[in-house]
């Protein structure tokens, strides 16, 4: 995973709450077997509307998405994170993220920065009044800076550390393989295995 320290890019105001992962990338785009190539599916239905924010050339090269509360609800599809990344987004700012989306983002180097809703409103206002405004997101300082605004955001310490270091979770866990072996030895014998049995 690519390490994340600070990022500066055009902010995109998305005045929608409950942006579910079916909106971020509809199911028909989930059939690829690769981790890349999902940019065309990003907000596919909304992008067919001329008035959608990403169809405005002043926002189309945006990389910091500023969205309403409950971003990333619904399906667990990590394709939502891949599509945002493929399009060019490095940061999503919202006042509340769905748990699975937040976890997926943290695994892929997409920063899910949680700001107070009142601060999201300030960012929306600024980005709409001055389209093309650049937003700087500093993970070390946990701040969002845009124009005169300097706003704090929250992210849990562990995810922050992993993002700053660009660490691969699996390699970290495999350091503890001995502990896993020991745990496995203590599991009750009646727990099921998927090994086929008569009648299944």
């Amino acid at each position: 995973m690519e390490a994340f320290t600070t990022h500066t890019g055009v902010g995109v105001p998305l005045r929608r709450s409950n942006v579910d992962t079916d909106q971020i990338i509809p199911a028909v785009y989930l059939k690829r077997v690769t981790r890349t190539g999902f940019a065309d599916g990003l907000f596919a239905a909304w992008r067919s509307d001329e008035g959608f924010v990403l169809n405005d050339p002043r926002f189309s090269a945006g990389s910091v998405l500023v969205a309403g509360p409950d971003f990333g609800t619904g399906s667990s599809r990590e394709h939502a994170v891949w599509a945002l990344g493929d399009y060019g987004f490095r940061v999503v700012i919202s006042s509340r993220f769905a748990d699975i989306f937040r976890g997926n983002a943290g695994k892929q180097g997409l920063l899910a920065a949680q700001c107070a809703q009142s601060d999201v409103e300030l960012l929306w206002k600024l980005l709409e009044q001055e389209p093309g405004t650049e937003v700087t997101v500093d993970l070390r300082e946990r701040t969002v800076t845009a124009g005169e605004l300097v706003l704090p955001f929250t992210i849990d310490d562990y995810t922050r550390w992993r993002l700053l270091e660009g660490l691969d979770d699996i390699a970290l866990t495999l350091r503890e393989v001995g502990t896993i072996d020991t745990f496995e030895g203590s599991r009750p014998g009646w727990l099921p295995t998927t090994t086929p049995v008569a009648g299944s």
């Binding site: 079916d22 690769t34 409950d70 619904g74 769905a98 099921p192 998927t194 049995v197």
Partner: protein, 475 residues
């Protein structure tokens, strides 16, 4: 202080307790795999030269992409076919048991696990699918994960996770006839909202929950994710044990006795404290339907389409306006007058045998209204076989519904079963998001009873809205 059910199951799976900000390392007892969220995970293993650590705790099925007609033919859509073929190759290469299209045990992953007896109380169950919460009905911690986590579980059989908070959802009283577990969960989501459960495991408790069958409990836990929760759980009891007894992977003999003894202790202690609590009055519940584009936008069927002007919160009002515009609904319209052209009975929420029986009971001796298409899609091939043994398929076919093979189907429209732009469905599935069932399609979430009655009347309805069936003509 005592512990909640969720805390007991969590504690029993901690491989290594995290210190400070570190997450715990949690052992995973069962990993369910399907074709959509796994190919990139298997690819990652291959790139790193890692094996699947416990293929014997892993099982795969084909469900999201598969067509529900002509399943003896190759999949017509080449991209879907590639994805299914990729799963087959990956399972063969890594030694994972797979139930492919056409297999007697193929079906929706969350129907297959329980029916095989692989889902048992006190386990940890994961799958690259948010509706994994279904398995919590057995008193297991079951939750959806992303593809990076799928790869992590394949490689290590563990996940680094911080403990979830706990919320008690007390459902007390007795459901009236015609009111189902689907109505309970839609009412819960309408109450706490689509974000109300974020960070929580919900434990459904109370007399109305205890009275539910296992299948009805699965419907409740299935939609926990629609309230934003990571998981939903119900304490195992005699109903749970009876459901499991004799299933292919359930313990037998002395193992059964040891397991039941352990399972019987999986209850929230009387002095345990939840981080949050909500109470629902089961006596007051009536059939529930959604009017908007998220599962929290629901109301009793007897109500009218709400007026956004009456919503105080600016964001909520804006969201309701957007939803009504997408759904093409006018404030003040009685929900019972909303006409549909499609009825979908199926999905991991309501595609089990009891759901099919309930809908068939309503349809027996009746006809699907002119201009309405009704799809009946069993959750698994076993459910389909059971329904045919009971003659339910004949009831559906005589009523004018389509009788299909198993899969996720129109719940998310990854296969050819989709709504056309502007079409409107009453659907027993779990999400009414914009375009979920097909681009431009409109979805009202309902119970199987409401789905069947709606198919007959052509507008959102409950069985009590129907005139008596002509059972003589049907026999």
């Amino acid at each position: 202080m005592g512990r909640t059910l969720a805390e007991k199951v969590w504690d029993a799976h901690v491989v290594r307790r995290g210190s400070g900000d570190e997450p715990d390392l949690l052992y995973i007892d069962l990993h369910l795999v399907h074709e959509v969220t796994s190919p990139q995970a298997f690819d990652g293993l291959r790139l790193a030269g890692r094996p699947v650590r416990r293929p014997d705790l892993t099982i795969a099925t084909e469900d999201h992409n598969v067509p529900t007609t002509g399943i003896d033919l190759p999949i017509a859509d080449p991209v879907s076919r590639t994805q299914v073929d990729t799963l087959r190759r990956n399972c063969a290469e890594f030694g994972v048991r797979l139930h492919p299209m056409g297999d007697v045990d193929q079906g929706i992953v969350h129907v297959v696990g329980p029916q095989l007896g692989l889902t048992q109380p006190g386990m940890t169950v994961v799958c690259g699918d948010s509706h994994t919460s279904t398995h919590g009905a057995f008193g297991s911690i079951a939750f959806g994960i992303g593809t990076s986590e799928v790869e992590h579980v394949l490689a290590t059989q563990t996940l680094p996770l911080k403990p979830f908070r706990t919320m008690a959802v007390n459902v007390e009283g007795t459901l009236r006839p015609g009111v189902t577990s689907k109505d309970i969960i839609l009412a819960v989501i309408a109450r706490i909202g689509t974000g109300g459960g974020q960070g929580y495991i919900l434990e459904y408790r109370g007399s109305a929950i205890e009275a539910l069958s296992m299948e009805a409990r699965m419907t409740v836990c299935n939609m926990s994710i629609e309230a934003g929760a990571r998981a939903g759980m119900i304490a195992p009891d005699a109903t749970t044990f009876e459901y499991l007894r004799g299933r292919p992977h359930a313990p037998t003999g002395a193992d059964w006795d040891a397991a039941v003894e352990y399972w019987s202790g999986l209850r929230t202690d009387p002095d345990a404290e939840f981080d949050a609590e909500v109470t629902i009055d089961a006596d007051a519940l009536t059939p529930f339907v959604t009017w908007g584009t998220n599962p929290g936008q629901g109301l009793p069927l007897g109500e009218r389409v709400p007026d956004p002007a009456g919503i105080a919160d600016e964001n909520e009002r804006f969201a309701a306006e957007k939803a009504l515009s997408y759904m093409d609904l006018t404030p003040g319209t009685p929900l019972r007058e909303v006409a549909v052209d499609t009825v979908f009975l199926g999905s991991c929420t309501n595609g089990r045998i009891e759901d099919l029986r309930a809908a068939a009971e309503v349809l027996r001796g009746r006809k699907v209204a002119g201009g309405v298409r009704m799809l009946v899609v069993p959750g698994s091939m076993r459910v389909r076989g059971q329904a045919e043994a009971e003659g339910l398929h004949e009831v559906f076919l005589e009523a004018g519904a389509e009788w299909r093979s198993a899969g996720c189907s129109m719940c998310l429209g990854m296969n050819p079963d989709q709504l056309a732009p502007g079409e409107r469905s009453a659907s027993t599935s779990n999400r009414n998001f914009e375009g979920r069932q097909g681009k431009g399609g409109r979805t009202h979430l309902v119970s199987p009873l409401v789905a069947a009655a709606t198919a007959v009347r052509g507008t959102l309805s409950s069985p009590e809205d129907l005139p008596a069936a002509d059972l003589a003509a049907a026999s």
